[in-house]
């Protein structure tokens, strides 16, 4: 039985036995390279669930909306870690959840596919074995899957969900996590790095898709929306955009699980992961901390150790 068939069977059973009110999963999308979030409420609807490498959304983002329901939710490795974060922060109740974990070898980066396909419109995409075949008007291109996976996925150490009530299918092999993605930036002179980020920030249109799609951005009022004090201007330009993204990054320190949902949601392709990745790397190096592994653990910035390092200290 394929993972997708297993998923449907599981969901059908959960709904038929009335163990959950709804299943948060994926169904076929309306565009090639896409699926779409799906809320199955009947056993018949369960048969519309799909599982493939286009299931890019982190569905735990929806959970705080359904605190009054018993929810079955499909999670990939990264999503499971977000779920741990939500549990740590009391945003969801474990006993109301049925977690369907699916070991995940990575999701497709549709922007990268489009770029590799040359920019012409892709009208169909199929995954066969280790390859993805994309077609458009008058062209067909075969790309190795490994090359078109989302950057977070290519370095993902946690493809197997750390938390689940049932795990469907075989485990995926653990990848080796490196921080090579940061090397180029870290090796730049500060002034070039600043110029790089200034260019990225200039693209941002402050649609807040990154925030809205992030499971960790569950604040009732975001700092960008307050008026007293008004931290941020409504003006959309490099400086205020940078202020927003730095503020958001700080807010995600020790909570971001590198699922990459923000970067996938961004309509204008801002490099949203660099800041978060830097913080993930530092948290590990300085404090040995990884987000989203232990629901009982304190958050990184919510606790301390008397012997914490002080690399920042200015001694004059």
């Amino acid at each position: 039985m394929s993972k997708q068939e297993e998923l449907r069977a599981t969901a059908r059973r959960l709904l038929a036995e009335n163990r959950v009110d709804l299943i948060l999963g994926y169904t076929a999308g309306t565009l090639p390279l896409r699926t779409t979030p799906f809320f199955a409420r009947t056993p018949a609807e369960a048969d519309l669930l799909v599982w493939n490498a286009f299931c890019e959304y982190n569905l735990t983002n929806y959970l705080p909306r359904y605190t009054g329901n018993r929810v079955g939710i499909v999670v990939k490795g990264c999503d499971a870690r977000s779920l741990v974060g939500l549990l740590q922060q009391n945003q969801v109740q474990r006993e109301r959840l049925y977690v369907i974990g699916i070991p995940c070898a990575g999701v497709v980066d549709r922007r990268r596919v489009a770029l590799l396909a040359g920019g012409a419109e892709i009208t169909a995409a199929d995954i066969t074995g280790g390859e993805i075949v994309v077609r458009g008007r008058g062209f067909e291109k075969v790309l190795p899957m490994e090359e078109v996976l989302f950057p977070s996925c290519r370095r993902c150490r946690y493809g197997n969900p750390v938390l689940a009530d049932v795990v469907l299918g075989e485990k995926v092999p653990e990848r080796k996590e490196t921080y090579e993605d940061l090397a180029a930036l870290e090796n730049m002179p500060a002034v070039e790095r600043e110029a790089y980020f200034a260019r990225e920030m200039a693209k941002c249109i402050r649609c807040y898709a990154c925030r809205e799609v992030c499971p960790m951005c569950f604040c009732k009022q975001c700092f960008v929306d307050g008026t007293a004090p008004q931290w941020l201007s409504r003006w959309v330009g490099t400086a205020d955009n940078l202020f927003f993204h730095l503020g958001r990054t700080m807010h995600l320190v020790g909570r971001c699980v590198d699922c990459g949902a923000c970067a996938r949601a961004c309509p204008v392709g801002v490099d949203l992961m660099a800041f978060n990745r830097k913080m993930i790397k530092d948290a590990e190096a300085l404090f040995g901390y990884r987000a989203g592994l232990d629901p009982e653990a304190h958050l990184l910035l919510g606790t301390f150790d008397p012997n914490d390092p002080e690399p920042f200290l200015f001694r004059g």
């Binding site: 070039e192 400086a239 202020f243 914490d308």
Partner: protein, 147 residues
Amino acid sequence: MDAGPEPKIVGFLCNWCSYAAADLAGINRLQYPASVRIIRVPCSGRVSPLFLLTALRRGADAVLVSGCHPGDCHYTSGNLVARRRFAMLKSLLEFAGLDEGRVNFTWISASEAADFARVTTRIYQRAKDLGPYRGALRKESGVPRRE
């Protein structure tokens, strides 16, 4: 002092220690740079990253956060919690391209007036060497700014 614009430095000082140290420096007639504008906070743990970003965004050339020495917090552990935050924040801001020397964190107790004068003088000197902050946090905005 050398020519060139005077840097603006915003110091967020803990009420129970560094603020008292600044006070003591004044009583002892210890010189420290007038460019340091002090904002008294109840604890270094109160200092949100947004405070520092806002200071830089709105005209500061350097910022300083100073609290009690670890273990001496008036609220037991405010500075210990803050310590982690500052470690991450300083790394992030410098990763984002901010010059080293524009964001500063230190611990100064109420009796260490001389340390306060020395630290602020060094920060001032570094800020002066760096020149006015004109980085990405200071770029275009709706307000036509007069320099």
